[in-house]
Each structure stands twice: as C-alpha cells, then as structure tokens.
C-alpha cells in the first residue's frame, strides 16, 4: 500500500526530472532536475528493498557526480544555452520510437504480475548470495563471487583518476615549443 504510493509518486517525479533534463535550456536547471531524478530513483531503490544501493546512489550520483557536473558548468561559465535548433527529424523519430516502446511495455503491465519473494535482513549460510536488505550480503558477494570484478573496478577508478588529472592539466606536456597560453 505505502510502497505503491511511494512508487507512483517518485516514478512520476523521476520521469518529470528526466524529461526536464532533456528539455531545459539552462544547464544549471538541467543539473538540478537531474539531481531530482537521481534522488527519486534512490527512493525507487528503497521500495525495492535495496537500501544500501539507495544510499550509494545518493552518495555517489547525487552527491559527487552531480557536484562535478555543477562544478564544470560553473567553471566554463559561458553562455551554455543551445544556439542551433534541434534536428526535427531526429526528434520526431525518437518520439515515435519512445512512444512505441512505452506502448508495447504498457500492454504488458499487470499480465502475469510477479510476486515478490520475501527477503530476510541477513544472508543465510545456505544461500549467501540471496537478496537481503542488510548490507552484509554486499560485502560477502563482493569478496567472494565478485572478487575479480571489484579489483578491476578499483583499477578502473585509479586509471580514471590518473586520466582525469592528465587531461585536466593546464600546461602542455611538450615544453620544447615554449609556453603558449598559461
């Protein structure tokens, strides 16, 4: 009952936020609507009993990624409004496709409605990778079945950090041509 209300409320908010991102002329507005969409998505995660992920979503996406976006928008403080008109053909085609996909999906709704399996809060020794609300299963899964992926993800983050620092450097690497700009 409560979950249903939450679901409809926040999925509406999320879709509204998403469309506003696409439609807004001002990038700062777009970033704000994006935050709205991301936080609403976190609430949808909550309705799915994925509490850890919801917190992570807010922390990483809404808290860090969007701050980065806002930081860059402010740093490149230029007139970021769109100047050229969007491609009408592409827009029409996209809208038609979107409408078709949504229509197809909507015909499915309610048919053979899936019942949610009930979940515990801590993983059982028998099935340690079952879906649970507690965060212990996360650690368990990450350090057993997903040991390699998490190492790769860590390495990826390191590479991303090095890459971002290199790309963000103001000075040119080749110093033989003398200084240009600052």
């Amino acid at each position: 009952m409560n979950e249903e209300i939450l679901f409809y409320l926040f999925s509406t908010l999320m879709l509204f936020g998403g469309s506003a991102v696409v439609l807004s002329r001002n990038p700062v507005n777009a970033a704000l609507y994006m935050i709205l969409a991301l936080v609403s998505l976190a609430v949808l995660f909550l309705t799915l009993d994925a509490f850890f992920l919801a917190a992570l979503q807010v922390l990483v996406y809404a808290g860090a990624v969007m701050v980065l976006f806002l930081f860059v928008i402010m740093m490149l403080d230029v007139d970021l409004r769109e100047r050229s008109r969007p491609n009408i053909m592409a827009a029409a085609l996209g809208l038609v496709t979107t409408g078709a996909v949504v229509a197809i999906l909507l015909t499915w709704v309610g048919e053979g409605s899936t019942i949610r399996p009930s979940v515990g809060s801590v993983p059982t020794p028998g099935n340690p990778l079952a879906f649970v609300t507690g965060s212990k299963a996360f650690g368990y899964a990450l350090l057993t079945k997903y040991m390699l992926p998490i190492q790769v993800a860590g390495f990826l983050l390191l590479v991303a950090m090095v890459g971002a620092i290199l790309l963000g450097r103001r000075t040119k690497l080749k110093s033989s041509e003398g200084k240009d700009g600052s």
């Binding site: 807010v58 930081f71 402010m74």
Partner: protein, 366 residues
C-alpha cells in the same frame, strides 16, 4: 491497519520533536558561539535581551539575561520579521530555492542518528533510541550531508555576483576533496566493529555498543578520529576551512546577497551541521551514551535511564560543539590552495594508510 497508522503518527511525532530539538540546539549554538568568542576575546557577549515575565524574577532573571539566554528568541524573531530583500540581478527561482536546499539535508540526517538507549526491565538487550534504526546508518548520513553542498553552490551561482560565485565553486571543490578522506577514515571503525560472525552492517548504534566498556574508539583508532575530525570541520565549512564564506577575501561568500529569513536558514543549517557532526563524532569515537572509561553504565532500567543516557550523550555532543567553536576562535583560516593540498595530499594518504594498517591488524588478530 490501525496499529500501523498509530505507529506512523508516533514516528511523525518523534520526527517533529527531533526537529524542534535540533532547531533549538542550533539557535543556542549560535548563542554559544557568540558567548564563547566573547569570553575568549575578553568580552562579555550578548547580555541585553530579556523577556517580560521571566526576566523580572528577582535574581534568576538578571542572571539569565547576563547569560544571554533570551538572545536566540530575539534573533529568530529578527530573522522572521526583517524585510525579505531580493536583489535585482539574481536568478530568482534558484535564489529562493538555495536556502531550503541547504537546510533539508542538515535536518534529515537526524533520522538515523541514535541519541540514547532504553533498557527494558526484562533484561533484554538495550534498544537504541533512534528514529530509523537503519543498517546503513553512516552511509545514509554521508549521502544526505553530501547533498548539503547544493544549497551553497546554488546560492553562489544564483546570486549572479562574483564573490558568492567564488564561494560556491570553492564549496563544491572542497566538498569533493574532503568527502573521500572522511569516508576512508570511518571505514577502519566499522572494520573493527564488525568482527567475523557478527550481524555486520553500517549501523551507528552498533559502534556505540562496541564501546560499551566506556573506552571510546578514539583510544583504539586515534588517526581515524583525527582525520574524521578534520574532514568534519571541512565538510561543515567551519573556520579553519570556511572557504565558501571566508569574509576577508569573499565579503560573505555564498551568502553575500542573502538577508533576513533566507540568511537565517543558511545560518541554522550551518549550526545544525555542527551539532549533527558533533553527535556523529561522539557516537563513533567518544563512546556515545556510555559512561566514563572503565566504569559500568550507571543508567537505571526504564525510561529514566533512557533520559539519563540521552543527557550524557547530549553532554558529549555539546562538548564537541564547544570544540568546534573553540577551534574557530583560535585558528586562522587556511589559504584555499593549502586546504586543497591538505585534503588531497595529506588527509587522503593518511586515511588510506590508516585503513590499510587496521585491515592488516584486523586480519592478523583474526
């Protein structure tokens, strides 16, 4: 259904109670800030405001007046009744949105902060007093408090004026820089608390339970406590790191263009951050509501014990808030590049090394 409805109403009631409490604490934190700064500088501080009836009680009234205890009410009324100014150059919608966005995360963090324990007479395990006893407590706190920066960034941007803008940009950069160190400094604590075989999780109350002998986590992990404290100062934009509003180089920083009630909201948010931050530090490192080191908790069974444990915890929180204020009136402000260098160059490696050390220690001790 009826029981569920009652539970819901009870939760709403507790939530409102907590909000009222935190807003009062924030108002009195402002008073504490003014009084402590005055005493440190050899001044007297606010001692003029008085109430008609309470202030007229022979000895008590003047004493309360000299402590400035009525000042927060006057300040609040002033913020309420001042004219709402809106400068002409601002981006109106965002300008009005920003203070609200700044206050909401600061207050909503409160939901997962435990503030005491209730021991039932049946001899069951003590129940932590908390609005939402979540498994992901500390993560949610980090998540929500990281949203607080949007208020500042938005205020800086919407003011459409150069100093607030610089303040906003600084706030966003500082937030990203110190959040990492903060998260890493808390990890060893949870590593230590969640020994194998335990339920596991990021619950704050469990950290407090672990410290039930009264010895705070700060004795076990002093480096974590230090890094967390420094990051806390940076995240709540308090003085050695108050880059977003460093009044000597940025006028008023992000709230230069704000006045009246909107400024009041920013102000309240800052002090709510300070109090919640102190509470979290007290929970994680100072043993929460547990009594002195080596002394068994003297709290009696039942609600009186719960109240006492809350008072003891509040005392610790206020002591931490006093530290915040004390540091503010002692240390000079860092330069902006120094803040960044400290965040990325010193705190982050320190927190990483600390995490590694405790990970090795934990695995070595089994």
């Amino acid at each position: 259904m009826d029981v569920a409805w009652e539970m819901f109403l009870l939760k709403v009631f507790y939530g409102i109670l907590a909000l009222v409490a935190i807003l009062t604490f924030a108002a009195y934190a402002v008073l504490a800030e003014r009084k402590v700064s005055a005493w440190i500088q050899g001044r007297v501080g606010p001692n003029r405001t008085t109430l008609p009836i309470v202030g007229d009680i022979p000895i008590l009234g003047p004493f309360l007046r000299s402590l400035g205890l009525f000042q927060p009410m006057a300040d609040g009324l002033k913020f309420l009744f001042k004219e709402e100014m809106c400068p002409g150059q601002v981006n109106r919608f965002h300008y009005h949105l920003a203070p609200i966005l700044a206050l909401i995360p600061a207050l909503s963090v409160l939901a997962v902060v435990p503030f005491g324990q209730y021991v039932a007479s049946t001899g069951a395990d003590p129940i932590p007093l908390v609005l939402a006893d979540l498994d992901i407590g500390i993560l949610l706190i980090f998540a929500l408090s990281s949203l607080g920066v949007y208020g500042i960034v938005l205020a800086g941007w919407a003011s459409n004026s150069k100093y607030p803008f610089l303040g906003g940009v600084r706030a966003s950069a500082q937030m990203i820089s110190f959040e990492l160190a903060m998260g890493l400094s808390v990890l060893p604590v949870f590593l230590w608390v969640n020994e194998p075989g335990s339920i596991g999780g990021l619950n704050l109350a469990r950290v407090v339970d672990w410290q039930d002998n009264g010895w705070g986590m700060i004795f076990v992990q002093p480096v974590s406590a230090l890094v967390f404290l420094v990051a806390l100062f940076a995240e709540s934009n308090r003085l050695p790191f108050d880059m977003p509003e460093s009044e000597t180089d940025l006028v008023g920083g992000f709230h230069t263009e704000y006045g009246a009630f909107k400024f009041g909201l920013f102000f309240t948010a800052e002090y709510a951050h300070v109090i919640v931050g102190s509470a979290i530090f007290a929970l994680l490192f100072l043993g929460g509501w547990h009594f002195l080191p080596g002394v068994e908790d003297p709290w009696p069974i039942g609600w009186s014990g719960a109240a006492l444990s809350f008072l003891w915890f509040a005392l610790k929180t206020f002591a931490m808030s006093f530290l915040f204020i004390w540091v503010r009136w002692t240390l000079p402000r860092f330069r902006y590049d120094q803040v960044m260098k400290l965040g990325w160059g010193k705190l982050l490696p320190l927190a990483l090394g600390n995490l590694l050390l405790y990970a090795v220690l934990a695995s070595w001790m089994g």
